[in-house]
């Protein structure tokens, strides 16, 4: 102990253990200039991570390399390259089942290659963290920025948070372990960013000292047995539920799927605390024009809001930090003055617009418009958002694009 009781012993890497609240809110921070991938490394370094398995795919490879460096430096216990994303997501499942705090990373086609594993993670109640650096999913091949893949993950039973920038990603990775490992939650956490825009660009971020770390994972808080032969096996029954056609079997499988979704719901108070809210508001609180956006689209919408203010139009951005659980109440509250809700997105399908529409149906009178849709690697200049907003309001577009 020492430092007024802030430190709680040391972890396996020799770092001083601090509480999650101290790490996220109280520890002194220093400004550094780094890429999103480097921010992943700095977060993992402070997270008492036991294991990580990697596989190359652009744009997440650098983050995976840097976790490997942490393994060499003694900050991560187990690390290797798997055979494919399907293999990797199964390997990290094994690591987690055996009681490890685990992190891995992937992107685009890798996410889809691994897909079968994500509902398995959730059903097995494994609090694995997946850092998702979104990229295009398309044929012909695209490696460009695009977050279409998040739509495929919405119903996997994993929590999903979407970071706007490297700072938010750094904090979300640390908070992600803390929330996902709560006994009454204990489901996977996907911390997503828009690949390249965040992974490959440098920005100033504030980080706490490197000699402190989160408390190590205590696997025995898991609501399901850890597979380490240290505790009694979880199941030993004469009439197993697998493939049995009877109502007990149906009820078991149905209730477990509900339970996984309920576990995500139970993450709300923890996520609200450690993320400082599931949403973030920017701009005029009474605005009739509201942008709902997540990830880098929120940054661009903020710029558009500034441009609209130059025209005398008050607008507001509501950034969605948590996609699962979805902040229904917070969004309704934050848009109660809205006449128009615009949802700009970095994908062709408009998954966030769908989420907002489904959530707001019968509860909001605002007109919801999904625009612009930017995909395949194109950027989203704020001028486009600004132009679309002016058109929706029936105003003349004065900016020259």
């Amino acid at each position: 102990m020492g430092n007024n009781g802030v430190y709680q012993g040391v972890n396996k890497s020799g770092q001083k253990i601090v509480s999650p609240d101290y790490m996220l809110f109280e520890a002194p921070r220093e400004k550094v200039f780094m890429t999103g991938s480097e921010a992943v490394k700095e977060a993992v370094k402070r997270a008492s991570v036991d294991a990580s398995v990697s596989y190359p795919i652009t744009p997440q490879s650098e983050a995976a390399h840097l976790i490997g460096e942490l393994w060499v430096e003694g900050y991560v216990g187990v690390y290797f390259r798997g055979e494919s994303e399907f293999g990797v997501m199964s390997e990290v499942a094994g690591c987690s089942m055996a009681g490890a705090r685990v992190i891995t990373t992937t992107s685009g086609p890798g996410t889809l290659r691994a897909m079968e594993n994500f509902p398995m993670w959730a059903g097995s109640r494994l609090p694995i963290q997946l850092v998702l650096m979104a990229r295009g999913v398309n044929s012909p091949l695209s490696i460009q920025p695009d977050n279409l893949e998040i739509s495929f993950l919405l119903d996997t039973g994993c929590m999903i948070w979407h970071a706007e920038n490297a700072q938010e990603l750094f904090d979300m990775i640390l908070a992600g372990f803390v929330v996902a490992e709560k006994t009454d939650v204990h489901v996977p956490i996907i911390t997503a960013i828009d690949g390249f825009f965040i992974s490959h660009t440098r920005e100033s971020i504030m980080i706490p000292p490197e000699d402190i770390a989160l408390p190590p994972y205590n696997p025995y808080v898991s609501p399901t047995p850890i597979i380490d032969a240290e505790i009694a096996p979880g199941r030993y029954i004469k009439d197993p539920f697998v493939m049995k056609s009877n109502y007990i079997s149906y009820a078991t499988h149905a209730s477990w799927q509900w339970e996984v979704r309920a576990a995500i719901e139970r993450s709300r108070p923890y996520a609200k605390h450690y993320l400082r809210g599931l949403i973030e508001e920017f701009g005029d609180s009474e605005a009739e024009l509201v942008f709902i956006a997540s990830g880098t689209a929120a940054s661009q919408a903020k710029e558009a809001t500034r441009m609209l203010l130059d025209e005398g139009i008050k607008a507001k951005v509501v950034k969605v930090k948590s996609i699962r659980p979805f902040p229904h109440q917070e969004l309704l509250e934050a848009t109660k003055t809205a006449k128009y809700i615009i949802v700009p997105e970095f994908n062709v399908v408009g998954w966030l617009e769908r989420e907002v529409r489904a959530s707001f149906y019968g509860k909001s009178n605002a007109t919801i418009i999904g625009t612009p849709r930017v995909a395949g690697g194109m950027t989203m200049p704020p001028e486009i958002i600004y132009r679309d907003a002016l058109k929706i309001l029936g105003k003349e577009v004065s900016y020259v694009l």
Binding site: G87, S90, E91, D228, K238, V242
Partner: protein
């Protein structure tokens, strides 16, 4: 020793089903010399099973579970198929996650257990069918061999996808008519034992389960070698009597035919494996 986890809480004893009480009282724990000769006397780690009557796979399960040298610290990883129906009835820590990822899951478990318990012996054994091992899971199987994962992989080869209704598999023999090969299989059975050797396994055996003692020997050798050296592979012929038109009491006969033909006993070991096996024999453990 972790077999303490099988000790029944005194306050709950009166509510425990008899098979749980028997696990504490009559199963063989803490004795690496346990084996198939205990079967008539000891409590088995398999509580009944849900396979077909006379299924040779059920013999394999009983012999393997009776032969594990360290059951109190053994994790068994399974895959989808007939074998997955049995797993909830095994009294050890078992995992079923997906179809074909068993060796990947086992790799993660083994590495983390080595990291978390550097001073304890924890054996990880994969038990899966031929579809899981050789078809859908071949990549994960071989890659775990390439990476020299210290796990034992046991393939139950019944030469067919039995649980889904009798489809041709990679281990079906050429010419055999099964569903999805209505003109007869067009190419050869995959020589998985040879792939295991070429992919870096240190102990490989191909056999039927007609002889319980021989299964015990193979399981113990494979587990001791995996513990110290690297991946090991056991290929067992466990015919699907249902799909080849045999009766419930004809499984043993079918395997004895296999002993003379396609599944004649074949054993391979590297010099490092040989050294471990020699030492364990001297210690009286094999």
């Amino acid at each position: 020793m972790s077999f303490n986890i099988y000790k029944v809480n005194e306050e709950l004893r009166e509510f425990m089903p008899p098979e749980i009480l028997e696990l504490e009282e009559k199963a063989t724990w803490g004795n690496p010399k346990r084996g198939v000769m205990d079967l008539p006397y000891a409590k088995e780690l398999l509580e009944e099973h849900s396979l077909c009557a006379g299924c040779p796979e059920s013999d394999a399960f009983r012999y393997i579970l009776a032969s594990l040298p360290n059951p109190e610290d053994t994790i068994i990883v399974n895959s989808t198929g007939c074998t997955s129906l049995v797993f909830p009835q095994i009294a050890l820590h078992t995992v079923h996650s997906l179809f074909g990822n068993q060796n990947a899951v086992a790799s993660g478990i083994k590495r983390v257990l080595e990291y978390r318990f550097p001073n304890k012996v924890k054996d990880v054994v994969v038990l899966a069918g031929d579809g899981a091992t050789v078809d859908i899971g071949l990549d994960c199987t071989l890659q775990s061999f390439f990476r020299q994962e210290k796990i034992t992989t046991i393939c139950y080869d019944n030469e067919v996808y039995a649980n889904t209704g009798g489809q041709e598999s990679g281990l079906t023999v050429k010419g055999h008519v099964f569903k999805m090969a209505p003109k007869g299989k067009q190419w050869d059975k995959v020589p998985m034992w040879q792939l295991a050797i070429d992919s870096g396994c240190h102990y490989v055996v191909r056999m039927t389960v007609s002889s319980p003692r021989r299964v015990e020997q193979a399981v113990k050798k494979a587990i001791y070698v995996a513990r110290e050296v690297g991946p090991t592979y056991i290929h067992l012929y466990t015919p699907c009597i249902l799909e080849i038109g045999r009766n419930s009491d004809e499984g043993l006969e079918e395997m004895k035919l296999g002993d003379k033909e396609r599944f004649s006993f074949f054993e391979y070991m590297t010099p490092q494996a040989e050294e471990v096996i020699k030492r364990k024999k001297e210690e009286g453990l094999i």
